[in-house]
């Protein structure tokens, strides 16, 4: 809605959010990290693809922090002597595409179905729920194996498979919350005013449910990255020479006792990304809630006073 600009005594939303972000230094760091990841995801493959694929058998399992080889080898090299830093950067694109794609798709579909199941009549709700039960009771790995065997492994197919298996999580959470929120007084007030079903769902119910969903989505991000690596391990996910962080962890597994860095660095990349997403979603939950917002704005003014 665009009539926020008619409100007299509040600063412009953009300025306001920037200030609130500044107030929470952890969230700020998380945003900066995620922006870096985003830039690397877009530019990485063009920039470093050659270096990431070039084998160097004399540098097999080279340990990290040996500066004389050049900055690309800072994090060490893998079993074929390829620099890990370059490989992590190049892998960002595939990893992010699969993880973000699967999370966004499953969250969007799951939420919409959950809203319908919660708000529509009993029969529609039951049908949607049984559908979710079917997906949940079917082993997700088996489903993935079957689908990917038929369709052939590719980024697009991986997204489809992974998002289908994660839909029930969002669906069930959304439905449970909707069932509670729809009985609240302000929903009744909207009904009395003559608001249509879609308007009540999207304008009144969804904003209340959204914070829970973003929290689940950020946690799911890490889950999807690891699920993708186990599919690669089975030979039906992303296949070499393409790389993802999950695949790099899987490949490093057999050298874990002799060359820990093969799995450690991509693992760290996954942890930092999910941690940043978590911090960001935590900040968003407060910043987007008008009742809680003062916590961030307060912190900022207090700092301003002492400075």
């Amino acid at each position: 809605m665009s009539h926020i600009d008619t409100i007299p005594d509040e600063p412009k939303p953009l300025v306001r959010f920037a200030r609130m972000l500044w107030a929470d230094k952890f969230a700020l760091a998380a945003v900066l990290f995620l922006l870096t990841v985003l830039v690397l995801a877009v530019a990485g493959p063009h920039w470093l693809d050659g270096a990431a694929q070039k084998q160097n058998l004399r540098g097999r399992n080279a340990p990290p922090f040996e500066w004389e080889r050049g900055w690309l080898w800072v994090l060490g090299a893998d079993a074929l002597g390829r620099p890990l830093l370059a490989r992590i950067i190049v892998a960002t694109q595939n990893t992010m595409m699969i993880a973000a794609g699967a999370v966004v798709c499953s969250a969007a579909i799951g939420t919409v179905l959950g809203l319908i199941a919660g708000y529509a009549g009993k029969r529609t709700g039951e049908v949607i729920l049984r559908l979710a039960d079917v997906i949940m009771s079917f082993p997700s790995l088996l489903l993935a194996v079957v689908v990917l065997y038929i369709l052939g492994p590719s980024v697009g197919n991986l997204i489809v498979v992974l998002s289908i298996t994660r839909i029930p999580v969002y669906l069930r959470t959304t439905r449970a919350e909707v069932l509670e929120v729809r009985e609240r007084m302000f929903v009744q007030a909207a009904k009395v005013m003559g608001a249509s079903g879609p308007r009540i769902i999207f304008r009144h119910i969804l904003p209340v449910v959204l914070p829970t969903l973003t929290t689940i989505a950020t946690l799911d991000f890490a889950f999807v990255m690891l699920a993708e690596s186990s599919l690669s391990f089975l030979g039906i996910g992303i296949q070499p020479p393409d790389i993802t962080w999950g695949l790099m962890i899987a490949q490093g597994k057999q050298y874990l006792t002799t060359a820990w860095w093969l799995s450690f660095w991509p693992g760290l990349a996954i942890i930092l990304t999910t941690l940043s997403l978590n911090l960001l979603s935590n900040w968003m939950r407060i910043a987007l809630d008008p009742v809680q917002r003062w916590r961030l704005e307060m912190r900022q003014t207090r700092k301003g006073e002492t400075a």
């Binding site: 809605m1 009539h3 008619t6 409100i7 007299p8 005594d9 509040e10 609240r184 007084m185 302000f186 009744q188 007030a189 909207a190 009904k191 009395v192 005013m193 003559g194 608001a195 249509s196 308007r199 304008r203 009144h204 904003p207 209340v208 809630d289 008008p290 009742v291 003062w294 916590r295 307060m298």
Partner: protein
């Protein structure tokens, strides 16, 4: 002579994110054995914080007791070690709360919980059981032996409060603190619970400290009263003295705001009703919530529907707005039947019929600004107002309900309870309705705010010619405002007539009982009422 409880110079602060809040400022009062002291105040006056300090219930931090003494039998409670205070709590000082359901554990039987209170302080199982049985019988629960085996949800609200009292009295305390003990109860039940407290006090000689916002409760039960406002004691004295001759302007204002003293309306007979309901009926499964309800509402008039909880008064309102589908009957709005209307026609009609809900905290979406809340009406019904005129109209509406146009950018939580209800009224007015249904619209508000909101509604009725259906559980509230009163009991209409007739010469015994049970703020009038009630009961 030492008092049973002597609070001297008590100050409590809370350190919150918005700065230090001085909840209680240098408060002093005392209470003797066999005496009832009422602490009277509106929300935020610090009355509950003072009592929590006595029971050591303040969370520290953020709370902090900055000065004062709480002398109980001559010993300063604030200087005692935690274990000694625990021993005093429950054994010598007991407390009952506003909402007994949330203070009884739902997974244990009532008997177990009362026995637990006894055994925790050293009684053995067999004596505890016998004592629990005696207590439950004493507070007037039917079938005491069976009741001990039941769970809290199997009792009614009044019975639960009786059980809480039984539990509090288990250890024969010297002091009973009652925090708004009857606020959640119906008027007739309220009178019974207060009478029970008084009887028990005569038997045991305990001191009662009752915390309330209700002048009627004070008039009914208290010997002396302490009036608190914004953390300070503004007045102390004998109940009758304070009522007759209030010294502090705040006390005078509080007494003046009590409803039920103004001139009653004299409705002019009119020919054409704007709404006429015939034989409305609503059945939930095997339970009949509303049976054979019929009434007429004239344009520009106020009809009050009064009844206790479960009387079906809210269901009637919800049927008129089709929030509940009626089972049978007819409701003619300007000649068209509301109960049989298809959804499309109903949508257009939503403009004419609006509702103001009980609790504005819940009826306003917390994530929308006042601007969004009010303009939503015009987003849904674009025909009412073109977009360029929104701004002036919002300002106009806010002024009409006594708020400032600059407040449009704020969110509901930034307002007080009374202001929030004004926003809800402004939202209803945005649709330019001809009928507003107020479902307990003022019962969650403080007395002085209540009076303002009622005055606002009456003013809107006069200026805009809007009809009102005003649903309440409290008779005095509707006395000054209603033209006609309909009394409901168990889903049926008991009595329906002009306000003067219902209040001055009620025909039905139920209406008479309801009127007698209502608590008048005037202690002398209340004494007379009590006599009348006892006569009715006897």
């Amino acid at each position: 002579m030492t008092h049973l409880l002597d609070v001297r110079d008590l100050s409590v602060e809370f350190h919150t994110a918005v700065g230090t809040v001085h909840a209680v400022k240098r408060v002093s009062f005392h209470l003797d054995r066999g005496e009832t002291l009422a602490i009277l105040g509106e929300s935020g006056s610090g009355k509950s914080v003072s009592s929590s300090a006595i029971m050591d219930l303040i969370d520290m931090p953020p709370g902090k007791i900055t000065s004062g003494q709480i002398l109980f039998d001559g010993r300063d409670l604030l200087k005692l070690p935690a274990s000694a205070r625990r021993d005093i709590n429950g054994r010598r000082i007991a407390m009952i709360f506003q909402d007994p359901l949330s203070h009884l554990n739902p997974v244990y039987t009532v008997g177990w919980q009362i026995e637990e209170a006894l055994t925790a302080h050293g009684a053995d199982r067999a004596t505890a059981r016998a004592e629990a049985l005696r207590l439950v019988a004493r507070v007037g629960i039917p079938n005491p032996a069976d009741s001990l085996k039941k769970y809290p949800h199997e009792f009614s609200g009044g019975q639960r409060q009786r059980l809480m009292i039984a539990m509090a009295l288990a250890l024969k305390p010297d002091l009973l603190i009652a925090d708004e003990p009857t606020t959640a109860l119906d008027v007739t039940v309220q009178a019974e619970v207060l009478a029970l407290l008084e009887e028990l006090q005569h038997e045991t000689g305990m001191g009662i400290l009752i915390i309330t916002h209700d002048l009627g409760v004070v008039a009914e039960i208290a010997d002396r009263v302490v009036v608190m406002n914004a953390g300070e004691v503004v007045e102390t004295g004998e109940t009758a003295q304070v009522y007759r001759n209030p010294q502090h302007p705040y006390t005078a204002r509080l007494i003046g705001a009590a409803p039920g003293k103004g001139e009653m309306h004299m409705p002019v007979p009119q020919a054409e009703p704007v709404l006429s309901v015939r034989n409305a009926r609503k059945v939930f499964g095997r339970f009949t919530a509303v049976e054979d309800v019929s009434f007429d509402l004239m344009p520009g008039e106020t009809l009050a529907i009064v009844g206790e909880s479960g009387s079906g008064k809210s269901t009637v309102a919800k049927m008129l707005l089709r929030l509940e589908e009626p089972t049978a009957g007819q409701a003619l709005w300007k000649g068209r039947d509301l109960f049989a209307m298809p959804p499309a026609e109903l949508h257009a009609l939503r403009r004419d019929l609006q509702m103001v809900f009980q609790d504005p905290t819940q009826s306003l979406n917390p994530r929308m600004t006042v601007w969004q809340l009010i303009t939503e009406a015009w987003v849904i019904h674009p025909a009412i107002l073109p977009r360029e005129k929104w701004k002036t109209r919002v300002a106009e509406l806010l002024q009409q309900v006594g708020l400032k146009p600059e407040m449009a950018g704020r969110y509901p939580h930034q307002f007080s309870g009374g202001q929030r209800q004004r926003i809800a009224i402004a939202r209803a007015l945005a649709l330019e309705p001809q009928l507003i249904i107020c479902d307990e619209a003022v019962s969650a508000l403080d007395v002085s705010v209540q009076a303002q909101v009622i005055a606002l509604l009456d003013d809107l009725r006069k200026r805009l010619g809007i009809s009102f259906i005003f649903i309440a559980h409290d008779l005095p509230v509707v006395r000054d405002f209603a033209d006609h009163v309909m009394v409901m009991e168990k889903g049926r209409v008991v009595e329906l007539g002009p306000v003067r007739q219902v209040f001055d010469s009620p025909q039905q015994p139920y209406t008479q009982r309801l009127l007698a049970a209502g608590l008048d703020p005037d202690p002398e009038v209340q004494a007379g009422r009590r006599a009348a009630r006892l006569a009715l009961a006897g």
